[in-house]
Symmetry: C2
Subunit: 466 residues, 2 copies
């Protein structure tokens, strides 16, 4: 790529922009060289920390003129390498965009800057009786801006939808420094093209998000949690659909293979759950609502449905501590796997009823290509995370044979009507597989849209597209 | 616009395309010369009725080469002139795309062609225990394809969202004849740009929709309907927010000014409702769910909330006939106004809590510019239809002064954080006001996106943009 390397004069210019922090020493650059994706490492040439829209606009205008690549970065918790400056240049660290601008309680809306930790935003609106549902596993550390950029999901998506379902309007800075809103702060909008939804999930390749308007819903008062141990993992997947077909919509419907839970228990040093030898998988099922009586009824009905399968005893969690413990175990699976082995995480998603078949396909391909996998995820949405662990695989097989296996897996996912990322994004690590789900015409349409927003290609180059 | 007029050789070509009906006689062209928007009339040069994707593709490829404009048409129930061939050319009548291709009950999805009447689709999936909520007033005659093209709403949006919230994937034919899917049939998708949401609501300007994949939800068993008469229209608007702030989410929360209901009663010759002289407006409130006991509780709680305002007696409708009668009255308001006078319909939308102010603004501007208005609509979403009736206004004032009044109104809507169309689209009749809510940079970004899909500008030219 014909990008300009950053020179002393550029650094001087960045220093001259008011509302901008300029970081250049090695240690500071190192902090922005990786995210939570595998062990990837790309050192930016410079890290800028603007805290006003004007500063972002000035930075963008300059970088566009100079053809310097700009990669926006939130909290660095991404799982597809989206925040990594693979061509060097500027990392635009958005951590100082950390204000909640306005909670509009009358309209159930919040206007926020992107650099707020998702959980903090959730707690802030909850204190006012409101609810922002999307909660990725990293909610305690990720930024809402990153969530919007990747169109994140999380356990509650099965009932409440994903980030895109809550974004009403975005303020973005284009590559040329222009600042614009993508829509309006309304629940219904048939006014021109839906630029908002085009920017959601565009992984920092179309503009820099500087303000986010989210719709909220009334807070929900109660929830109950069930952990159901299955002797057959495929049956656990089948039960997911049975629950939904019976007319119940749990607020979470999570699948965990035995290893996922076992490794997580070891990782967080929990002994809270007895795990008999014959258990292959668990479903973690949450129901929520405002009427506790109704919740117990729903939980019992769901319990009756899962009893039709070959299961061990259902664990009902109704104390805060028990629920916390189970959710911690679920949320820590990713980290637990990571701590255990070199790994690669895939983010497959299929029409929900195809999950049992998907699980069997994964295991079959694993055997064929010699890899072990730990599967878990948001079964209620058909979104299964496949953590492939290196284990005893040779370095050569890991490097050469594994991508072939992943390609075969993704082709099967596509055959089932699914796609290659449900909530992590394509970023750097999945772009080589885009051709499986999109043909040339589709890819070039997307690239041309990118060019409309960013004619010189300076915004997060090398992501999504090969 | 430098479009080519259709010649005999073009007609011959259209005849040669298999799976295509070619209509050229005056009477047939007349049937496609208008929609439900005011009294607009634009005669197409030719009407084509393809019934295969291949035929659409061949038509598009030819028209693109020849620079012949193509305007897709559904059932012609649009309210912004979107289906009118204002530059002549081809009207692509999609009525023969009338098959429901697959109801995937296991995955709560339906794959349909665009030329199905929305209500028929709803009834088809309901027979299988599933629910497709978006139900515009014209649901008994409009096509699902038009709903997707305009991102339609309807009464149920307050609880269930609008069309865009149900579209998972679209098959479209581009201007050059290329056929492509915009996404995948999954509930969560973080794979490339959201082309699906870009096409939803794009009013036939980006591609021809040939297949639609909709997500469905489990059917809801029961509902209850309340009609609440308010002595103050502004208080009726205020009550909308009070209900939602109290944590209740009705499945409909509709506002009707006195005239709206009165005219509709006259239009359908109903005497079912006593309308005392001091009533200014009504709220029509529906609650739905699977537990009848809970519904009665909710209805009572909502009733208690509205009692705090200056209201007359609440009408509880729990028989099928009563509910039918009330919904018919609500759905027929538009037609009733139309039958009464020359009119113009605006489709304002604001953050919901600003409704009382919006209503007062409308009346104030009406006084200033000499027009009468009948307001009604989906108050739960902040979406208020403003039917401006010509009444005693002179032809000259109607032509010259009214657009100034509408401009002032839309500026106020924008000031309140709203926008100029909530669910009818921009089409032909609102495009002159787009500059109120979008600046040049935003408009030209949208136009450039259009150019990516349709470089020669043959798809529904003269819509959305000036």
């Amino acid at each position: 790529m014909p990008f300009k390397k950053i020179l002393q004069e550029d650094i001087s210019f960045f220093h001259s922009i008011s509302g901008n922090n300029v970081l250049t020493d090695k240690e500071q650059l190192e902090r922005c060289a990786s995210d939570e994706t595998e062990d990837l490492h790309f050192l930016p040439e410079i890290v800028l920390q603007p805290d006003t829209v004007e500063a972002v606009s000035n930075i963008m205008r300059y970088c566009n003129e100079q053809t310097i690549p700009v990669t926006a970065r939130g909290a660095g918790t991404g799982l597809s390498g989206g925040a990594l400056a693979i061509y060097g240049g500027v990392v635009l660290d958005m951590k100082r965009f950390n204000k909640i601008i306005k909670l509009d309680k009358r309209n159930f809306q919040v206007i926020t800057e992107p650099g707020i930790i998702t959980q903090e935003l959730q707690e802030y609106v909850k204190a006012e009786g409101l609810f922002y549902p999307p909660d990725p596993a990293s909610k305690g550390s990720c930024f809402i801006g990153g969530n919007v950029s990747e169109n994140s999901g999380g356990p509650k998506a099965v009932k409440y939808g994903v980030v895109k379902d809550y974004v009403l309007n975005l303020e973005i800075v284009l590559a040329n420094g222009d600042v614009m809103w993508t829509g309006a702060n309304v629940l219904k909008n048939a006014t021109g093209y839906n630029l908002t939804q085009l920017v959601v999930g565009s992984e920092g390749t179309l503009g820099i998000i500087t303000k986010i308007v989210l719709r909220l819903i009334p807070a929900v008062k109660h929830d109950l949690l069930l952990l159901v141990p299955f002797r057959s993992a495929v049956q656990a997947c089948e039960a997911v659909n049975a629950i939904l077909l019976a007319g119940y919509t749990p607020s979470a419907l999570e699948f965990m293979e035995r290893d996922a839970l076992e490794w997580s228990m070891r990782y967080v040093k929990s002994e809270g759950i007895h795990l008999p030898d014959d258990i292959e998988a668990h479903l973690l099922i949450e129901v929520d609502g405002n009427d506790m009586e109704q919740l117990y009824k729903d939980a019992e009905a769901i319990s009756a449905i899962v009893q039709q399968y070959n299961i061990d005893e259902v664990l009902f969690a109704d104390s805060h501590e028990q629920k916390q413990m189970l959710w911690t175990l679920r949320r820590k699976v990713g980290e637990a796997v990571k701590s255990n082995s070199i790994y690669k995480e895939e983010d497959t998603v299929v029409p929900r009823a195809e999950l049992p078949e998907l699980l069997q396909i994964i295991k079959r391909i694993g055997k064929e290509y010699g890899f072990q996998s730990v599967c878990y995820g948001h079964a209620g949405d058909g979104n299964l995370h496949v953590n492939i662990v290196k284990g005893k695989m040779s370095d050569e097989d890991w490097k050469l044979k594994l991508p072939q296996g992943i390609r075969v897996l993704f082709k099967e996912v596509a055959r089932l009507g699914g796609t290659i990322s449900g909530e992590h994004g394509i970023g750097l690590v999945q772009k080589e597989y885009m051709d499986i789900v999109f043909n040339n015409a589709q890819i070039s349409l997307m690239k041309e849209i990118k060019r409309v927003f960013d004619p010189k290609g300076i915004l997060n180059p090398g992501k999504i597209f090969l």
